[in-house]
């Protein structure tokens, strides 16, 4: 059977890696247990030994492993990021996922044979930008930002010939990735430098007369009535007063799901489909990876998928889904 799209799955920790591999991932992505990767949450990620073992497990089952070193190194502390790249190479990673210019440059010089995937944190959203990274840093693949419509994805691939990975399921940011400072504006910690957005230790909920209030640091992000499901207080999914009226000015608490668009994405020349969610548990990984494995295999066999399996709705953010920017009119 020919592969329809490469299924790239989150491995937040060694257990999730094995679950994803067993559920049919073509590739998994993971990071080290520090601020060198953009999912630096407590209890997640890998130490060097765990990565080596995880790679052996995946490779024995025909699955590739990508290591995300996709935060922006801090001034004067760049050594930790260089070590992360060196160690990923030494452990036998199939690629590193990188966003920072200096780190791309280091990787290209020190490990020319190691595949470089451009992280979504670099937000390369134009042909010009993609060519810049291909020409200057010889990146093999670009993870496209979640801000493009399907016809734009198609144009970009046509114009650049790039090997493209796109997001298919999971959490959805509305800002250009790698350049959003809303989290650090409120908490002091950001995805760019610390690898965290809306860190859990800054989150609180409290009951008030009007409903359940969610806060990030001291900032009130939302207030849910008894008929609404509560959502995690991510700044860009908050409800705020604009011209005196409460509304989700950026985006609603909602998850991305592109299952109905898979054939259009395939036709546009996309190589790989990425499942977001290294911060999610093994149940999420098992559920989402097996569902997508089934759908991609059906498509590869020429069978039409039968829509979104109900089980995916139960794990989607806010239990609701959107096509995000892939659909016209999102902007």
């Amino acid at each position: 059977m020919t592969r329809y799209l490469e299924l790239v799955c989150p491995a937040g920790n060694p257990v999730a890696l094995r679950v994803a591999v067993d559920a049919g991932a073509d590739s998994v992505y993971c990071g080290f247990r520090d601020c060198t990767n953009a999912r630096n949450y407590p209890g997640l990620n890998f130490d060097r030994q765990e990565l080596r073992a995880g790679i052996a497990y995946a490779h024995a089952r025909g699955c590739r492993v990508f290591v995300a070193v996709n935060t922006f190194p801090r001034a004067g502390k760049i050594g930790s990021w260089h070590r992360a790249i060196d160690d990923a190479a030494a452990c036998g990673a199939d690629a590193v996922i990188v966003a920072d210019l200096g780190l791309l440059d280091y990787t290209m010089r020190q490990h020319p044979q190691l595949r470089r995937h451009l992280s979504v944190q670099a937000a390369a959203a134009s042909a010009l930008s993609i060519r810049f990274y291909m020409e200057k840093f010889d990146v093999s693949r670009v993870v496209l930002p979640r801000v493009l419509a399907v016809h734009e994805v198609s144009n970009l691939i046509g114009q650049t010939g790039v090997e493209a990975e796109v997001f298919g399921f999971g959490s959805l940011g509305t800002m250009v990735e790698g350049r959003c400072f809303l989290s650090s504006y409120m908490t002091g910690r950001s995805p760019s430098s610390d690898g965290v957005c809306a860190p859990a230790e800054c989150v609180s909920y409290r009951e008030e007369a009007g409903g359940l209030v969610s806060c990030l640091s001291d900032v009130m992000i939302n207030c849910f009535g008894s008929d609404e499901p509560a959502a995690y207080p991510t700044p860009c999914k908050g409800r705020f007063l604009v011209r005196g009226r409460p509304r989700y000015i950026f985006e609603e608490p909602i998850g991305l799901n592109v299952i109905p668009l898979l054939s259009a994405l395939k036709a546009s020349g996309v190589t790989a489909l990425k499942i977001e969610g290294r911060q999610r548990g093994r149940n999420y990984v098992a559920t989402v990876v097996s569902a997508f494995r089934g759908i991609l295999d059906a498509l590869a066999d020429g069978r039409a998928p039968t829509g979104t399996p109900d089980v995916l709705r139960t794990v989607a953010e806010g239990q609701r889904e959107t096509f995000g920017a892939y659909a016209k009119g999102w902007r």
Partner: protein, 298 residues
């Protein structure tokens, strides 16, 4: 002494407002350099681009350096050709999307505050590509800026006054706030000369919307920090234009820089101009960006 620069107008000001603004800044303000052009939404540029040459000439006659700023996000082919022609015509360009570097044909450039330069490795790469001045990203702390400046062979600029750009999107939130789409936005962003206030549900203001851009609610104010940053070899301080008396604001910053009066006196004068919008400076002290700190170890 470090120099003062005037950042690009971030908001959708009318052509007439821009003409008046730059005429006054050219004639009366102590700034050394002005950044012209549109950084947020390329749809706005046709409203004022015919004036840019005259504005640039007036600023240059007044002895100010002129730099042309380019958008934070380059996506459409139309934007690419528009920016390519700016890059060809202008002497010095501010890059805010790395893709712009490909359009410069090796020309020198300024790396804008919207480019992620968090470390010396990236600093070196950009200098190798032709950067002659590098803006510290708004999220950097004073020690991080000092580290960059100490390793830099080029000028270093810091965003020192105004609402701080926090995020950029393809989606237009100004249009969304009126149930419109970006493609048919009716330029509603022009109604808010300093952006549209976003408040928490408890009524406390928190952010500012400016089309596809999200900014802080408070004004970054680094009068207390100018001396330390200047000692760290920061060469330029950026004042971001607002519908306030920017000549007076530049004069206050200049007076604190040259020691005519101290930071405390400067803050009191600035408060009279900027109130009721609060001051913020958290990022510089390694805190949440929205905080205002006055007691900190030097």
């Amino acid at each position: 002494m470090s120099k003062l620069t005037l950042g690009p107008v971030q908001f959708h000001w009318s052509a007439a407002q821009r003409r008046d603004f730059y005429a006054r800044m050219a004639d009366e303000s102590p700034i050394s350099c002005a950044y012209l052009g549109e950084v947020v939404c390329s749809k706005r540029l046709p409203w004022f681009e015919n004036d840019l040459t005259l504005i640039a000439e007036r600023l240059q006659r007044a002895g100010k350096q002129v730099v042309f700023s380019t958008p934070a996000l380059i996506t459409t082919d139309r934007e690419v050709s528009m920016i390519a022609s700016i890059c060809q015509a202008a002497e010095l360009i501010e890059v805010n999307d790395l893709a712009c570097i490909s359009l410069l044909n090796g020309k020198e450039f300024v790396s804008g505050p919207l480019v992620n330069v968090f470390n010396e490795g990236t600093l070196d790469v950009l200098i190798g590509m032709g950067a002659v001045r590098i803006n510290a990203p708004i999220e950097l702390s004073a020690p991080a800026i000092a580290t960059l400046a100490s390793k830099s062979r080029v000028e270093i600029e810091v965003f020192a006054f105004g609402r701080q750009p926090l995020a950029i999107s393809q989606r237009c939130y100004h249009a969304r706030s009126r149930d419109l789409h970006k493609d048919n936005c009716q330029f509603v962003c022009g109604e808010d000369v300093d952006g549209m206030e976003v408040a928490q549900l408890n009524g406390r203001p928190i952010l500012t919307i400016n089309g596809t851009q999200t900014l802080s609610y408070g004004h970054v104010t680094l009068l207390n920090e100018l001396a330390e940053l200047q000692a760290s070899e920061v060469t330029h301080f950026r004042l971001s234009p607002h519908a306030l008396d920017m000549v007076e604001i530049a004069t206050i910053y200049h007076a604190v820089l040259d020691g005519t009066f101290d930071a405390e006196e400067g803050l009191a004068k600035l408060q009279e101009i900027a109130a009721p919008i609060p001051f913020i400076n958290g990022y510089l002290h390694g805190h949440a960006g929205m905080e205002w700190l006055t007691n900190f170890a030097n």
